[in-house]
């Protein structure tokens, strides 16, 4: 068993405790009952279109990033605040190794929790709309979103005491407002990068496509570009987190 895996396992066990999983999965699953209720009066085709709308405008824009924010800021933030970080830092493991383990665990934990909700919504779309393929694109997009969110929020949790609050501010102001009105920064918007990957894989009707193009603005549709951008984000995040771990003073007195 490699040291990196031991670190990863330690983080993920802590992040995926039962209570946290339950409540956060409920947030991620919120589109499912909404879809179910609205779908009662819709045709099958409309249900798929509705699923796509809900996924993009509610899931990927708000619910999934909030879930990933809460999980990712806790990865190292919880270690720091609870005073257990010294246990980890007095091990013969490079700080970048610890950072990589934390990022991987935060991404996987976020994906698992969000995907539980995605599966439920997928199930509703399949049962009511009859299309069982809709969730595949969402699953891939959630994986990309989980890594991107972990890349931003894991170091944030280590640097700031109120990382969750600051992260919510970031989601609202940067992702929600500024990226909508300033075209020049849209390429750096995680939401838009994720939607661009999702749009590449999902089967979209004209309404959906119009919506997606409105959202992503200058970002080109394509999973390759999204994966490349998120990979760079993850790399930079590991470097930054490693540096913070290396220079952070842990004084208890």
């Amino acid at each position: 068993m490699t040291v990196l895996f031991v670190i990863f396992r330690g983080f993920i066990t802590r992040l995926l405790n039962r209570r946290r999983f339950f409540w956060l999965a409920l947030i991620g699953a919120a589109p499912a009952p909404i879809l179910f209720l609205i779908a009662q009066s819709e045709s099958s085709d409309s249900v798929v279109s509705l699923y796509n709308d809900l996924t993009v405008t509610l899931g990927m824009s708000t619910l999934y990033p909030v879930v990933a924010l809460i999980i990712s800021t806790a990865a190292l933030g919880q270690e720091w605040k609870s005073g257990t970080l010294p246990f980890l830092l007095v091990k013969p493991v490079s700080r970048w190794g610890i950072a990589a383990g934390a990022l991987a665990a935060a991404a996987v934990a976020s994906f698992v929790v969000i995907e539980a909700g995605v599966l439920l919504t997928w199930l509703v779309a399949g049962l009511v709309g009859g299309d069982w393929s809709v969730g595949l694109a969402t699953t891939v997009a959630v994986a990309i979103q989980s890594v991107a969110s972990a890349a931003i929020f894991v170091p944030l949790g280590l640097i700031l005491g109120r990382a969750t609050l600051v992260g919510l501010g970031y989601l609202l102001i940067w992702e929600g407002i500024l990226s909508s009105i300033i075209a020049g920064i849209q390429a750096s918007s995680v939401y838009r990068i994720v939607v661009s990957a999702w749009a590449d894989l999902a089967s979209l009707d004209l309404d959906n496509l119009t919506l997606v193009l409105d959202i992503i603005g200058r970002v080109e549709v394509g999973i390759g570009g999204a994966v490349a951008k998120v990979s760079i984000m993850a790399l930079v995040s590991v470097m930054l987190t490693g540096l913070v771990l290396r220079h952070r003073d842990l004084i208890g007195e």
């Binding site: 068993m1 040291v3 031991v6 980890l88 007095v90 091990k91 013969p92 490079s94 003073d249 007195e253």
Partner: protein, 312 residues
């Protein structure tokens, strides 16, 4: 006192070490070294012990100066943690882990060949085997301390830094931990243990380094510290059948500063305990008193330490 701050075979060296946080100086120009055996790091709360130990452990950067553990700087070279163990003062543990899991996790991260067996041995050494599969969240403070010690010594480190490991332990647990620390020290490990429970430090440490206000106030064995304070008044208790006569006879000497008489004996404060010791038998013979015991009243580490603090 300067020489006593250093040992001839150092494994841990602090050179001109200082740490400050804004205007607050936590550790100030500490120059000292530690070698195999147990060294007690003494000081009142706020003396800078925890900051000093964390500097040694590489968990904080010095504002000035350097730390060397086995010739390496822990802050820059995490590989040193294969040879270094650290037990933090905080009561915090990984509450979602059992003690066994925590110690196995520590063993795996320190690259021990057989983490399961090493964890079993470490848990056995702190006598936690029976409760090893309970969650750490259910442990008492003393049990948590022992679990942390097991986690720190699972890879058999050459240097072990223990920050107040006796905090919150009951007398039996304390005795066990003291025995473990003594055993490790006797086996040639370098152990630095901070504490304000001075009697326990006296029982486990061959050498004492006293910190006050971030500085080293004194260093050496308990007896050398005592010698270093030879100009300090000492309180000696003499049990005798004729306390009044004996006190009258001894009061003639210039090194007697004060005397308190009761029915069973006499307490004497003297500026020269050695001279008093040499004169007691003669004085008793002269007045015909039977002396049943002579004992220092203030030779505990507490009093040594309070002298150090008061005379700075």
């Amino acid at each position: 006192m300067t020489d006593a701050r250093h040992v001839s075979d150092p494994t841990v060296v602090a050179t001109n070490l200082s740490k400050w946080f804004g205007p607050k100086v936590a550790v100030s120009q500490v120059d000292c070294s530690f070698g195999p055996g147990v060294t007690g790091l003494l000081g009142p709360n706020g003396a800078g012990k925890t900051t000093f130990l964390r500097l040694l452990a590489g968990l904080a950067s010095p504002s000035t100066g350097e730390v060397s553990v086995l010739g390496r700087a822990p802050r820059r070279d995490p590989s040193i943690y294969r040879l270094l163990g650290f037990v933090p003062e905080d009561e915090t543990v990984y509450e979602h882990m059992t003690a066994r899991r925590f110690v196995e996790w520590s063993a795996a991260l320190t690259k021990v060949a057989d983490p399961v067996q090493a964890a079993r041995r470490a848990l056995q050494s702190v006598e936690l085997t029976e409760n090893a599969d309970r969650l750490l969240s259910t442990y008492s403070k003393g049990m948590r301390q022992r679990a942390k010690v097991a986690g720190a010594l699972v890879h058999d480190p050459q240097v072990l830094l223990l920050d107040e490991p006796l905090n919150g332990t009951d007398p039996i647990q304390r005795a066990r931990l003291i025995e473990i620390v003594r055993r490790l020290g006797e086996a040639g490990h370098t152990i630095i243990v901070s504490s304000h429970v001075l009697r326990e430090v006296d029982r486990m440490a061959g050498r004492v380094v006293a910190m006050v206000d971030g500085r080293i106030a004194a260093a050496g064995t308990v007896s050398t510290l005592r010698d270093a304070m030879s100009d300090q008044p000492r309180l000696i208790r003499i049990d005798t059948d004729l306390p009044r006569s004996l006190a009258r006879r001894l009061l003639a000497k210039e090194w007697i500063e004060a005397v308190r008489i009761d029915q069973a004996g006499v307490d004497i404060r003297t500026s020269d305990a050695r001279a008093l010791g040499g004169d007691i038998a003669r004085a008793a013979q002269e007045v015909g008193a039977i002396v049943t015991s002579v004992s220092p009243e203030d030779e505990s580490l507490e009093s040594v330490f309070s002298y150090l603090v008061e005379t700075r």
